[in-house]
Symmetry: C2
Subunit: 427 residues, 2 copies
């Protein structure tokens, strides 16, 4: 991009004026994380009051109120089975957080190894590594960092991770024990992995025989477009290619019903679920099965879930459209930024002029808009090109969102013009 | 004990006949664990249907339905504060299992150390040790075993652990990093620690500066007698003696409301709760706050909890009385067994003729009564004298319980007489 010197001065001055104007508005907007709005949560209010007083037994006669039932209620496993395409007896349904299930799998492999591991992951001489698709989900990367697992970045392409690179790494480096994937409407790029990518992940040779795919299917039924993307079944593919233990599949109802009071699942091979259950017995008296009953009786069937998710979509779509509308109006002509137009999920990935992402966040924060953590979508929080930012438009109402987007746009422009003008003055 | 030869033969023959009679009844009774009965759970049926639809906000305005709030809702922390005597801002309220909180504390100390640790517990040269009061709670010991923590047994006396031994061990052995305590109506002996014991635990010098008391106050409001035992406040004592970080205090509502759907807490110093919260952020999006609201609105106040627990007591007491009544009638005169008469909690500790506990369990199982795991109250599951068994009378109805107790008594007698007769024949 090349802007003439005079134009640049004018643009810079305009941006300064605009920024000053917003700075004086005493804004206080926090939209840093992908949180459903109160209006979305209201869609599930009936769940709060599902009457259970006379009917607390599971289909198989289990008293949902008492201890036990580590694997989760039959009907909860069946409902997830329809969502993730794994038989119900190979599904574990836990508490309110799929993140907790992921952590437990990682911690368990760390201390004991997986069913296929020659030793505990913590005992591997030279340490272990994970492939991290970038930009990706900060909480995945934070776990790796915490365990001291080396992170190897692989770029996200239009149809999923760069599989040529993934294949090359995984076949040659036996320290690579896993890959983090958000395979549908990925966080933050909203990429859905193509059938070819899923098949390659399931079939590719791996130097580590205990290689695991952490398949965080967080947005399994969360389209923003009318026709939901279809995602190839990783488990079926893994079985077909003789790697049935490879995928660990996670999902939850947190972004269907109540974010803080949903239920989460882990699905995979019989070996993997038995492995998880064995360790779970040590630390728990079983999940909250009453809430499982409540969730299942509210969500009922895949069809009902689809109806509910359509209502979510109607609430989310205008916000995502507003992101594009404001960015396009404010930034479309300068070429100093580009952004994704998500087909689903909770995020827009915004790419600003390299070298300015941190500055953009700083400027916005000074103007009262907290919207992103620079580098958060990269391992160790380091965005080397300082260019990527994650936008989470779900929580604020549309007016507040619009204001925030205007501010962000001004900051993107101001940071870019300041940067270009500094470069120009050096030249 | 000495029984004349002829008497022994007659007793042995009577026991054989009785045992045969019960064996033919095709019984199938499982009373192996301390599980509340359906009638007890029914006391909290109103909790299942606490209406929240129009009132899901916490006192401080937190939307209980959404993400976040890792420390738990204010009102839930306050309610626990009244039970465990620690300020509400030094309490964390989590999900449905205090066991999970204990595990997390142990796992966290293992990986990072405590706020006072020179290094992670896993990195201590020579490994670490815990004091285990015996007989004690199998799940505590199982965790130690799993982490490879050495267990040092200390006998339970009438007023708590043998503190002379505890003091001597803790001051001299810096590998001892913790002690497991169920300080009130202890599992399985129903011992409540005396004021002197609690004060000594709080004040004694420890070679390890990061020594921790895992204070599992599982039966904090669970008396079987009319006047609840009073337990000295370990936290206050620890503060007074300059060891505020020493106790980690656990409790839950699982045996007040719904066993599988209660809420649990961790209380302690600010350092300890901050330490726990820091690691929790990595693995969780926060606890189920909706259930916290439900629990608090149902339990309401310490007075209401007391009323509820009195109703539990009325259901439990006849069962515990039945244990004594049957054992006394069946075993009282022979001197081959003794048993506790609990003032609270969920268990009776039965001591049979040394060398026969395993045989008793085996005989009972063959007659269709599963009631204990020999050795389960000892580290590594090893009861060297083969004499102690745990009775959990809460779950079966009184008729089933009575039958089970008759069977157990017959098995205790039969095993004893068989044993004595074998010994006599050797002599």
């Amino acid at each position: 991009m090349k802007i003439a010197h005079d134009d640049l001065n004018r643009l810079k001055s305009d941006a300064d004026t605009e920024y000053l104007r917003y700075s004086k508005m005493d804004l206080r907007i926090d939209m840093a994380r992908g949180i459903p709005s109160p209006q979305q949560i209201d869609l599930s209010m009936a769940l709060l009051d599902v009457p259970l007083g006379n009917d607390y037994l599971s289909e198989d006669g289990t008293d949902s109120r008492n201890y036990g039932g580590q694997q989760g209620l039959l009907e909860a496993r069946r409902l997830f089975s329809t969502l993730v395409g794994v038989p119900e007896d190979q599904i574990v349904v836990g508490g309110n957080s799929s993140l907790a299930l992921m952590y437990e799998c990682l911690a368990q492999a760390w201390r004991y190894g997986t069913p296929d591991s020659p030793r505990a992951w913590s005992q591997e001489p030279g340490g272990i590594s994970f492939i991290c698709v970038v930009p990706g989900y900060d909480r995945h990367f934070a776990m790796c960092e915490d365990f001291g697992i080396r992170m190897i970045s692989v770029p996200m392409l239009d149809d999923g991770p760069d599989m040529e690179l993934v294949k090359r790494l995984v076949v040659s480096d036996s320290s690579i024990k896993g890959i983090w994937c958000v395979p549908k409407y990925s966080n933050p790029t909203s990429t859905t992995y193509s059938k070819a990518v899923v098949e390659t992940l399931a079939s590719m040779p791996a130097a580590a025989r205990d290689f695991r795919i952490f398949w965080d299917n967080a947005y399994v039924v969360h389209p923003l477009v009318e026709v939901d993307d279809s995602l190839e079944n990783i488990y079926t593919q893994a079985v077909r290619h003789g790697h049935s233990n490879r995928p660990l599949i996670f999902a939850s109802t947190s972004k269907m019903t109540l974010p803080g009071a949903g239920i989460a699942e882990l699905a995979g091979s019989k070996d993997n679920t038995a492995w998880w259950l064995k360790a779970a017995a040590l630390r728990s008296v079983g999940p909250d099965k009453v809430n499982q009953l409540r969730q299942v009786r509210f969500l009922r069937s895949p069809e009902k879930i689809k109806e509910l998710m359509e209502q979510h979509r109607q609430l989310l779509l205008p916000k995502f459209e507003r992101v594009h509308e404001v960015f396009n109006r404010r930034l479309g002509t300068f070429g100093v930024a580009q952004w994704t137009r998500p087909r689903g999920g909770y995020f827009v990935s915004l790419e600003v002029l390299p070298g300015t992402a941190k500055r953009v966040v700083e400027l916005a924060a000074q103007a009262g808009v907290k919207f992103a953590t620079p580098g958060s979508c990269f391992p160790y929080g380091i965005d080397e090109r300082d260019y990527q930012l994650r936008i989470a438009p779900s929580y604020p109402d549309i007016l507040q969102l619009t204001t925030a987007l205007e501010v962000i746009s001004v900051c993107v422009a101001k940071a870019a013009f300041d940067h270009l003008s500094a470069v120009a003055s050096v030249e």
